[in-house]
């Protein structure tokens, strides 16, 4: 049994193992070969926050592996009757679910889940903290486009302070040897970065200069206090578009974890343009989630 809770605490060999496994699943599926079916498992997909791509790709990953899945959402469940996370988790366990994929608005919520669920727990996004499978999808996409991650310059641009995608990508990419920069206005940057392996840029052109990968983050309007950021100002100073991309490396790729605010953090033409790998990120989401799900039920435990 293997949880997947954070990338920060995930050892590099486990990270590489997950990516290798995702590549294997991708080649099987793209070449039309059958995915080896193991014991049928039943996993719960427990989403306390809205999701399209993470939920759908977990479902699809489960389908490919021959697993069954049960969907929960905060809105339609006993959570609305005031049930605690602990009791919800105990209910899932008592209903004989064998694994749980969970997204919740509280950073570190998986502590409670791991304590009571007994089976493997996959973090599908905890508050502002981490989103490990998104980072795996992004790493796989970069590997495919660039051949390797070691030595690449990666600029993560935007609302880093509120971004769980950034907090997972910072760890996965630095563990795999990239140099990571975070770029954005001061009010959207973590104020203290002593414990994060990044360099900080407040000027978008300096931050993107020479970057091999430019990752725009969604402006998390639902997480921000109103009035902190003017959209017009943000667009003018930090939007990823053809102009800003001119200072990046010539073959730079453009990424976005979605859902996009088109015309805000990224302009339309760039999002759909030749440098964009946004749709590959989504497709790779299925394969890395297959890797995470099958690893969850491995007899052999890998460090996590």
């Amino acid at each position: 049994m293997n949880h997947l809770l954070t990338v920060r605490n995930l050892p590099k060999p486990s990270l590489e193992g997950l990516l290798e496994s995702a590549k294997m699943y991708k080649s099987l599926i793209e070449s039309g070969r059958p995915v080896p079916q193991t014991e049928i498992r039943t996993v719960g997909l427990l989403f306390f926050e809205n999701s399209t791509r993470t939920r759908v790709s977990f479902e699809q990953a489960a389908n490919y592996l021959g697993y069954r899945h049960v969907n929960f959402s905060g809105a339609g469940s006993s959570i609305k009757k005031g049930e605690s996370l602990k009791d919800t988790v105990l209910t899932l366990r008592a209903s004989r679910l064998e694994g749980v994929v969970i997204r919740h608005s509280a950073s570190g919520m998986y502590n409670v889940v791991v304590k009571y669920f007994e089976g493997p727990v996959l973090n599908a996004g905890d508050g502002r903290h981490e989103h490990p499978t998104q980072a795996l999808a992004d790493a796989l996409t970069i590997l495919e486009k660039k051949g390797q991650i070691e030595g690449l310059k990666v600029a993560i641009v935007g609302d880093v302070a509120n971004s769980r995608v950034a907090r997972s990508n910072i760890w996965s990419l630095t563990k795999l040897g990239a140099e990571v920069r975070i770029v954005g206005p001061r009010i959207l940057m973590p104020g203290h970065t002593d414990k994060l392996p990044v360099s900080v840029y407040y000027d978008v052109k300096q931050g993107i200069a020479g970057a091999d990968v430019v990752m725009a983050l969604r402006l998390q309007t639902e997480r921000m206090d109103s009035g902190l950021v003017s959209l017009g100002e943000y667009r003018r100073l930090y939007q990823i578009n053809r102009q800003t991309l001119k200072v990046a490396a010539p073959n730079a790729i453009v990424m976005h974890p979605g859902p996009m605010n088109r015309g805000v953090e990224i302009d339309d033409l760039t999002a759909d343009g030749p440098q964009s790998v946004i749709r590959q990120q989504v497709s790779n989401g299925v394969f890395v989630r297959m890797a995470a799900l099958s690893r969850a039920f491995d007899q052999e435990e890998t460090p996590s």
């Binding site: 602990k86 950073s107 409670v112």
Partner: protein, 439 residues
């Protein structure tokens, strides 16, 4: 009936006494103190060699949760925890349900605390500074004072409006009671759940900046200086708060302050990831703060040590970190933590340790306690501390209903082993049977 605390280190900060000697209690009152105190055949003897004989400890900051929150603590369980922690006196905070804003609630607390099944300690209620602790209208403090409050506070819901705070201070000045102020600018602390710093950035938690505390400390000190109202600042946690208080005292403001053991032991780095037992208000800060706080405790800028006993039901803390309530159930870990981290490290002498835990808090709220002098207290209040006993703090062994405490499983050196308030109210298993001699 005579009771003799024989041949211990007698520490009485109220007159600077630090001698080897004995204390005789007769009919519940301290009758004699010194090196040659006679006993007779009818005397019950506590043999105190190697132990400290101190005035009963005073905790000026506890939450007994009653009325209304008995799932967390009751006056009975809380006073029993106090007795087991070495306290003979405690101030209970007004953030109950409903808050302590009317005399009938004060009567209720005093009655419950005096009941035979309670812990046997004196309880001095702190009244709600504003009605309902809503920060809108000052409570009827003269009626509350008549009912028995020793101070007024809005505790965890501090007054944000400076004009109202000034009016409250003028009222309290007239009544000669101190305001106990938790200092937090809510517009800055917002939804933060730990110190704003490198660890909060790492864990994706919204931080509480030091300035949220410092700004309110500055405001309240300035208002105290301007009005002359006694101000006691609850649980300082930042170096900035300490420097502001130092300055306010220098300028002559009647300001005192306390520190809680968890704020001189833990930093943001000691938080085991997302452990809700480590969530406090204010949050654990940094080593830099801790160094300044310890220095200020040593040089007297920080007047006393308080527990900020904040028990919660287990289910309330078994939730994600951001959703958890803040605080720890601390009455029974306060002495152990203080001796281990402050006394044995040389920051405070034994006499100063007892001053911070007994004489100073008694003076600040005007309690007849904190002294071993005959007639200093309505009944004899004595705490015997074994300064060297090594023990493991285990929440399962505590009297408090609250089991939330980050000191759980910590090794402590030093423990209150006997608590006496008119009569024996707690005797610890560490107080060896052989030390207890019946007439």
């Amino acid at each position: 009936m005579k009771t003799l605390f024989r041949s211990g280190r007698v520490l009485d900060p109220s007159n600077g006494m630090d001698i080897y000697g004995s204390v005789l209690v007769e009919d519940g009152h301290i009758a004699a103190i010194g090196q040659d105190v006679a006993s007779d055949d009818s005397t019950l003897i506590y043999e105190c060699s190697g132990l400290w004989i101190c005035p009963g400890l005073v905790d000026m900051h506890s939450h007994l949760r009653e009325p209304g929150q008995e799932h967390r603590e009751s006056i009975r369980s809380g006073t029993q925890a106090a007795a087991a922690g070495g306290f003979t006196n405690l101030c209970c905070m007004p953030n109950t349900s409903p808050p302590l804003d009317s005399p009938v609630l004060i009567d209720y607390i005093l009655d419950k605390a005096a009941a035979p099944d309670a812990g046997g300690v004196f309880v001095a209620p702190v009244g709600a500074l504003t009605k309902g602790q809503l920060g809108e209208q000052v409570s009827d403090l003269s009626a509350l004072k008549k009912a028995g409050i020793v101070a007024a506070s809005d505790e965890g819901a501090p007054i944000q409006n400076s004009q109202l705070m000034k009016r409250a201070m003028e009222t309290c000045l007239q009544l000669d009671i101190p305001i106990m102020a938790h200092c937090e600018d809510r517009s800055l602390s917002s939804v933060g759940s730990m110190n704003e710093g490198a660890v909060s950035a790492l864990l994706g938690l919204v931080g509480v900046p030091r300035s949220a505390e410092d700004i309110m400390v500055a405001r309240n000190c300035l208002l105290s200086l301007e009005t002359g109202c006694k101000l006691h600042i609850l649980r300082v946690s930042t170096w900035g708060a300490v420097e502001l208080i130092r300055q306010a005292k220098f300028l002559g403001a009647p300001v005192t302050c306390e520190i809680c053991p968890h704020h001189f032991v833990f930093t943001e780095d000691s938080i085991h990831e997302f452990d809700t037992n480590c969530k406090t208000t204010p949050p654990f800060r940094t080593q830099n703060d801790l160094d300044v706080l310890l220095g200020a405790l040593s040089d007297g800028t920080i007047d006393c040590i308080a527990s900020d006993h904040s028990p919660y039901a287990p289910y309330e803390v078994d939730v994600p970190f951001e959703e958890a309530p803040a605080g720890l159930s601390a009455l029974e870990s306060t002495v152990g933590a203080t001796l281990t981290y402050v006394t044995h490290t040389g920051m405070l002498s034994p006499l100063e340790t007892v001053r911070k835990l007994s004489t100073s808090p008694a003076d600040i709220v005007g309690l007849e306690a904190g002294t071993l002098q005959p007639n200093g207290s309505p009944v004899a209040q004595i705490t015997v501390i074994d300064p060297n006993v090594e023990w493991t703090f285990d929440v399962a062994q505590t009297f408090s209903k609250g089991k939330n405490n980050p000191f759980h499983s910590h090794q402590f050196r030093g423990k209150a082993v006997l608590t006496f308030c008119g009569s024996e109210i707690y005797r610890d298993p560490f107080f060896n049977e052989e030390r207890f001699i019946l007439p």
